[in-house]
């Protein structure tokens, strides 16, 4: 566990990708196969199945420390991470013993069938047997969320160096539903066995946001332009008459979308389609929020299937006739895909339409229509491009539309969590209506650290009232708020609700009186409102 905890610490102290790869490579070369497998699992967001709930975990730690529950919760709201808070309030271990990562995972798994009291006793003994960094990892195993700014691609690169295997091959082998309980390091990564899991998806190829102007990309004819849909990027797989649907987050979501089941029969075996899963009714996309709501449901009733029907907009064809097409140029893959979609002839599987324009300038014009189409802009794909794995620059780009913006006045401020626990970073923003300020959005600040410090000082010196952690401040500062969507709302005093509001910049050049009004906001609603 010591090495793994150290890896964790070291990863946080560097921003260099090369150094991170090196840290992983070193870790892999030092640790046992079982530890390697678990490390890979944890950095692929897999962890041992729930051992203990967070209430019980809190009770254990409060029992050891004697802390008042409210005091613990206050601390948690400042630290922002449960495992870290628990670790920080615990006293140093009285008898640290060195054990491996997999030892502690097996230990946790062994407590799963125990009665609550016995489980708590065993876990609190374990907490007293680890150094602080190790204990943090141990707690994280129970609470989840190993976020350290490390992509799976990076881990696979290191693993590839260590095993001397192409990372793309490893990426494919590590897709899908494996778990360290059901496989071994060797089986998962080193078998060249072709009889791999039939439902296994390919690693997704992800695009970066376009930097600079599209003109720099050269001739428009070399590019395939599609709308950028706002849904769930998915892979639809049919092999040997069985259908599997995977989300980009490597989650198997077949059961959540029974409407695709008929495709298992109408699509040829050995087909893998990359597309966007969208809620579409009568040929028109519905707001993404409805799809999220549907996924959150435990039971799929007839009603919800009828209200929020899903379909796939096909982007790309990765496998056809059982053959991996990823090296074939996009234009050819697209041709086969077109034929396939026509042949299947189903309303729930449609080709993502290509957008055609004379030149970049004309395309730029067309982009203005994104919002009314419920799209977020364009995807630009080089016609000659292979289907790569992971996020890569060069061949695919996202060309997103600018968000809507409104200049608004800060009326409340609240301290942030975790990263920003020492600064006021969450603001409630208001617009003018008949001489009054009406709050319409709560936004997390996208300001620089320097600006944040400055705003925090303003808040401290201009507080009018305090309600718990929230401070009412003198309405003086104006911020440009950006958001992705706008809707009518009866729950908000302003009558509108905006989607993904965030602070774009501080309008130091504007006085509070010069901020936008509710009328401006409502104009946006009539222009772009989501029905």
């Amino acid at each position: 566990m010591k090495e793994f905890a150290q890896l964790f610490l070291d990863l946080e102290n560097t921003s260099s990708t090369n150094k991170k790869v090196e840290l992983f490579r070193k870790y892999f070369s030092k640790s046992s196969d079982q530890d390697k497998l678990w490390a890979l699992a944890l950095f692929s967001h897999k962890r041992p199945k729930s051992i203990i709930n967070t209430r019980q975990l809190r009770e254990i730690v409060l029992g050891i420390t004697g802390l008042e529950p409210w005091l613990f919760e206050e601390s948690y709201s400042v630290v922002g991470d449960l495992a870290e808070t628990l670790n920080l309030v615990l006293p140093s271990a009285s008898r640290p013993v060195e054990q491996s990562l997999s030892y502690w995972i097996d230990f946790l798994v062994s407590t799963r069938p125990l009665e609550e009291a016995d489980k708590k006793k065993k876990i609190s003994e374990a907490l007293d047997a680890m150094t602080k960094p190790e204990r943090f990892v141990f707690l994280k195993l129970m609470t989840g969320g190993f976020r350290v700014g490390v992509s799976k691609t990076l881990v696979l690169k290191a693993l590839g160096q260590y095993l001397e295997v192409d990372p793309a091959t490893l990426a494919h082998r590590t897709m899908g539903n494996w778990s360290p309980d059901t496989t071994t390091f060797r089986e998962l990564l080193m078998s060249t066995n072709q009889d791999e899991d039939l439902s296994k998806p390919y690693p997704f190829y992800l695009a970066y946001a376009l930097e600079g102007s599209p003109q720099d990309l050269g001739m428009l004819q070399d590019w395939q332009v599609e709308w950028k849909w706002d849904g769930i990027r998915s892979q639809l797989i049919v092999r040997e008459g069985r259908l599997a649907l995977w989300s980009r987050g490597e989650e198997l979501i077949t059961d959540k979308f029974p409407e695709f089941e008929p495709l298992a029969f109408s699509m040829p075996s050995g087909t893998v389609i990359d597309g966007e899963l969208l809620p579409v009714k009568d040929g028109k996309p519905l707001p993404f929020a409805l799809l999220q709501k549907r996924i959150g449901r435990k039971n799929l009733t007839k009603r919800i299937l009828n209200d929020v029907p899903a379909s796939i907009r096909a982007y790309d064809l990765l496998e056809f006739d059982g053959k991996d097409l990823r090296r074939v140029p996009l234009s050819e893959r697209r041709n086969i895909l077109k034929g396939l979609v026509e042949e299947v002839g189903s309303t729930i599987l449609q080709l993502s339409e290509e957008v055609r324009a004379e030149d970049w300038a004309a395309l730029d014009k067309l982009q203005e229509g994104s919002r009314s189409k419920m799209a977020e802009g364009f995807m630009l794909k080089r016609k000659s491009s292979p289907y790569q794995s992971g996020r890569k620059k060069g061949d695919w780009w996202k060309w997103k539309i600018d968000p809507m913006t409104i200049d608004a006045v800060m009326v409340y401020a609240q301290k942030g969590h975790g990263k920003r626990a020492d600064l006021y970073s969450d603001y409630t923003l208001a617009v003018w209506n008949e001489g009054e300020l009406v709050p319409f959005a709560k936004a997390y600040s996208g300001l620089t650290d320097k600006e944040l410090t400055e705003v925090s000082r303003f808040v401290r010196n201009n507080t009018r009232e305090k309600f718990g952690p929230v401070r009412t401040v003198t309405p003086e500062l104006v911020f440009e708020v950006a958001f992705e969507g706008i809707q009518l709302s009866t729950r908000h005093k302003s009558g509108v609700a905006v989607r993904f509001p965030r602070i774009h910049r501080w309008r130091k050049d504007k006085k509070a009186e010069e901020a936008n009004s509710l009328t401006d906001l409502k104009d946006l609603l009539t222009q772009y409102g989501e029905q």
Partner: protein, 339 residues
């Protein structure tokens, strides 16, 4: 009940009987200053009273022409019947808890303090009182400091590792207090130690005040780049990320602050090494200081004041939070740059 000896006004903490303010944030006639950090010692007051060791730094920061009187620790003076004395706070050189006694009331205003002896600053001395005004910068039970020796050992190891990689080590620290504390504790046999001008000025001022320190070199344009290889540089946080650091390339940065205890805050300030070391008391230190004071009335200022005062009330103290303009240990280390 008699009227309280001190009151909390919009200019600062005020003693009407003696007509003096303690650490006022607006210009007043007479200011008693706990220590020379910029949020406690502000410009514009007519007369200042502070501890001896604050003298030169105060003049550096507030101007040579200020009307400043200084006293030693435990050396009472009397103003209109109020007995006033300064007592070590262990925060930074010259930092004091200010004690004011009149009739049955004894108040102690702690300013900023820490309980650990850092081997450089005169250590904290508990002072009994009836009313204790305490800070609460790190007033949450997640803040538990490790002993200084352990932290410094970590810094020495980091420095050695950087040196082995041919890198310069850059440390961000407050210009008054933290910087000198680190300079004193470091293992200077590892390599030369350089300082930024802001820190150099404070070092010189402390030197004029008779405070002995280990030697360091001021970073100047004349120094050849090679001289920094394997060296350690101490600078205020604001100097990092500017072109000033270019001459040290390649380098590694470490932040030294109590806030480094929280991963999120550490991450926000870049993916640098963080060392948890503070000149403020941790949770246990704050609780200990309150107990030592034996005061029934506790006033909690800057920091997690609502949490700490609520906790004290639940333990039976008569505790209140007080709004001030003191800023605690700012994560940006800006007060260090105003020299």
């Amino acid at each position: 009940m008699s009227t309280p000896l001190l009151s909390f006004t919009n200019k600062g903490i005020y003693c009407a009987q003696a007509d003096v303010f303690i650490d006022p944030w607006q210009p007043v006639h007479k200011a008693l200053v706990t220590h020379a950090h910029s949020d406690h010692a502000r410009m514009g007051s007519r007369k200042y009273l502070a501890h001896d060791q604050s003298k030169e730094v105060l003049k550096l920061r507030l101007g040579d022409d200020i009307q400043l009187q200084t006293v030693k620790y435990n050396q009472p003076l009397s103003i209109n019947g109020v007995k006033i004395s300064f007592h070590p706070a262990g925060h930074v050189p010259g930092s004091a808890q200010i004690r004011l006694e009149y009739k049955a009331q004894t108040w102690v205003v702690s300013g900023d303090y820490k309980l650990e002896d850092d081997g450089f600053t005169i250590p904290f001395e508990p002072v009994k009182c009836t009313h204790f005004v305490t800070e609460s910068t790190f007033g949450l039970p997640v803040f538990n400091w490790r002993p200084q020796s352990e932290v410094i050992e970590g810094i020495n190891r980091w420095w050695l590792a950087n040196k082995a990689e041919g890198k310069t080590s850059l440390i961000a620290a407050y210009a008054l207090g933290k910087a000198q504390r680190i300079i004193q504790a470091l293992d200077h046999s590892i390599g030369p130690v350089f300082v930024h001008g802001a820190i150099h000025n404070v070092n010189e001022a402390l030197h004029r005040n008779g405070i002995k320190q280990k030697p360091t070199t001021l970073v100047t344009p004349e120094i050849a780049k090679e001289a920094y290889k394997g060296a350690l540089i101490i600078a205020p946080g604001s100097a990092l990320g500017t072109s000033w650091t270019r001459r040290f390339q390649p380098f590694a940065i470490a932040q030294v602050s109590g806030w480094m205890n929280i991963r999120g805050i550490k991450k926000r300030r870049g993916s640098h090494q963080g060392f948890v070391l503070s000149d403020h008391a941790d949770w246990k230190g704050l609780v200990q200081a309150v107990k030592w004071s034996q005061a029934e009335n506790i006033y909690v200022t800057h920091g997690y004041k609502s949490v700490f005062s609520r906790w004290l009330r639940e333990q039976g103290w008569n505790a209140d939070e007080v709004e001030t303009l003191y800023e605690g240990e700012l994560s940006e280390g800006e007060s260090g740059t105003q020299v």
